[in-house]
Amino acid sequence: MSKVQFTIDNLQASIANKEILKGVNITINGGEVHAIMGPNGTGKSTLASVIMGHPSYEVTGGAIQLDGEDVLDMEVDERARAGLFLAMQYPSEITGVTNADFLRSALNARREEGNDISLIKFIRQMESKMKSLEMDPQFMHRYLNEGFSGGEKKRNEILQMAMLEPRLCILDEIDSGLDIDALRIVSEGVNAMKSEDRGFLIITHYQRLLNYIQPDFVHVMMQGRIVKSGGPELAERLENEGYDWIKEELGIVDERVGVEEEFQVPMNTVAPKY
């Protein structure tokens, strides 16, 4: 496999005619781990959804390329087969479809027709990956995410990532709702996948996760843009000092994007009397 190259160039996107991404630029090369940090509501999760092709978002400008191929031109499933993977913050629950059936369909979708993965090989592979993520083997036959706890869902996302071996892994708030043990297990799962053939984009608003998964680059997102980039030391400074110093430095008052203006009750008005 060749070294991955993933580029986002001046990406702009909106939802319901509200612009959320206002020109995002990132380049990720094989073997690199990039972290995107920032307070809530600054466009981080939107970036992840837009890369994957969530139907609610409309791309209004810019480009995304994976190994020179135009990602924005692809359907969601084509993006996945091209090598993109998004570990979601809120994975869907799907009744009646077992975890095993689902993963086998996903693996077979990457293979030529008539060349399906053998059942034995698949089960062995799934069992061994589940073991390393300390997942109960019975989760194989549970309906996809149905009745899973928050932590179980996150582990299941990492399990899928490990099975599908993507070229670019995007982790959207994978640490939210995880206790320390689960965080360690999930991080070990991610670290085990680091390779020159693979890039990572990790979205989080806690520095905590980055103690477990060492980033090479840290980007801070505000108002739908990357406003500051640096090395791992930037994450440490954010941990110690918060985000206010960046806002001050850049003259940002409200770091959020796409927020409705709050309705202010005009002065000198009185609630109607009934």
Binding site: P55, T95, G96, V97, F102
Partner: protein
């Protein structure tokens, strides 16, 4: 104003059936009484469905099919439909008559009866006469009366008290002659503290001219007994199905229904549990897939008479093309049925803009000290679920299939015989994949 109803069957037809099956005189008399009632009765009321506009007058020709002595002598077309590892407890009805019937020696010695209803009417006259049409009565409406008058073939299953039948007893109803009559009656009697699982499968192997199948399954569940009935119906578009399935459950008894309504033609089916005794329970799981322009009226009911009675009903329907389904769930709690608990859920998945599905939950409660609940929904394949599956590389088409199949799976997997479960999965896949 009086109207003269022209009945689809007459006295001559009935006498011919009686003579051909050599059934006892009492049964012929029951048929003739029923025929007379049919002349006066109306169609049952089907919510929002004009069953009177359907083809409900072709009951077909009565012919006797030759019986076979062993499983191996069954035609290949029939054998192909029997997906089972074990045919030791099996009845096969071909068109209007039972052609093969087998019960293991072990069960026969315990007093279990599993045979052609016509034969049982002679050999076990007292038992059959006592229970036949005791749960689904011939004087209820035009459909039940015509059924009692004109039923052809069917099964008597009797389990003596305290006998636990561990293996499922199976029946195959198959239609392979285009205008043959095909309206069996299934009578199941489970005596006190017994248990049994009955599984049937209905199918066509050849094309058929327009025909009505008016089938009834009546189940007598005596005190403390437990009966499970699983039924997979996979009949061709020309077959109009009118079905009543009903169980009357005595104290601490239990009935479970697992029904696959996979017919291609118009079908009006009613699956009812009458919880007569205190502490009795029922569970009904129904799935249906509607395709082309077929019309379906699928009703499940739980009628609570006894105290501390429990019922649960789940219906899931996936509707394609221009198919229409009216899904009714009726939980009725009668006065005096204190501490009854009735739950029901109807879910309809619409797969095409021209398909139609109505979910009508009805709670009719005449007692204060009860619990009852319902949930109903009609919707399309969830876009977020599609996105999630596609984000793993699964094509839109395949993702849709997985979601639809998953929607029906919790009921398909409840089928008590693995081979029949596989068959139902196959039918579901075929109906969804056309």
């Amino acid at each position: 104003m009086t109207t003269t109803t022209i009945l689809p069957v007459g006295a001559a037809y009935i006498e011919a059936v009686s003579a051909a099956t050599k059934e006892p005189a009492w049964l012929t008399n029951v048929r003739l009484e029923a025929l007379e009632l049919a002349g006066r009765l109306e169609l049952p009321k089907y919510e929002k469905t004009r069953v009177d506009k359907w083809n409900i007058s072709q009951y077909g020709q009565y012919n006797t099919e030759a019986a076979v002595a062993s499983f191996d002598q069954l035609p290949e077309s029939v054998k192909g439909l029997i997906k089972t590892e074990d045919a030791s407890n099996l009845i096969v009805q071909r068109n209007a008559s039972v052609v093969f019937s087998q019960l293991s020696e072990e069960l026969a010695q315990q007093g279990v009866i599993f045979k052609d209803l016509h034969v049982a009417a002679t050999e076990h006259a007292e038992l059959v006469q006592k229970h036949l049409f005791s749960v689904i009565k011939k004087d209820e409406n035009l459909v039940t009366a015509l059924h009692a008058a004109a039923f052809t073939g069917g099964i008597f299953l009797y389990v003596p008290k305290n006998v636990q039948v561990e293996v499922p007893l199976q029946a195959l109803f198959m239609h392979d002659q285009e205008d043959a009559a095909f309206s069996p009656h299934v009578l199941i009697v489970a005596e006190a503290n017994s248990s049994v699982t009955y599984v049937d499968h209905s199918a066509n192997t050849t094309s058929t001219s327009a025909i009505v199948r008016n089938i009834a399954i009546e189940v007598v569940v005596q005190a403390g007994a437990k009966v499970t009935v699983a039924s997979v119906n996979d009949l061709a578009a020309n077959v109009t199905e009118l079905t009543f399935r009903r169980a009357e459950v005595a104290q601490d008894g239990q009935v479970n229904w697992i029904i696959g309504e996979m017919n291609a033609g118009n079908s009006a089916t009613d699956t009812t549990s009458i919880l007569r005794g205190n502490g009795s329970e029922s569970d009904a799981k129904v799935i249906c897939v509607g395709s082309n322009d077929q019309k379906l009226s699928i009703t499940t009911q739980a009628i609570h008479w006894g105290k501390n009675t429990n019922s649960d009903m789940v219906t899931r329907a996936a509707m394609r093309d221009e198919a229409t389904a009216i899904i009714n769930g009726v939980t009725k709690i009668e006065k005096g049925a204190t501490y009854a608990n009735g739950e029901q859920t109807e879910r309809v998945l619409m797969l095409s803009p021209k398909a139609r599905g109505d979910a009508n939950p009805m709670l009719l409660i005449d007692e204060d000290e009860v619990k009852a609940g319902h949930a109903a929904s009609v919707g399309q394949v969830n876009e977020n679920q599609l996105y999630y599956l596609m984000s793993r590389g699964i094509s839109r088409e395949q993702a849709q299939k997985l979601i639809i199949y998953g929607f029906l799976a919790p009921i398909v997997t409840a089928i008590p015989i693995a081979a029949l479960e596989a068959q139902l999965s196959e039918v579901v896949e075929r109906k969804l994949g056309q």
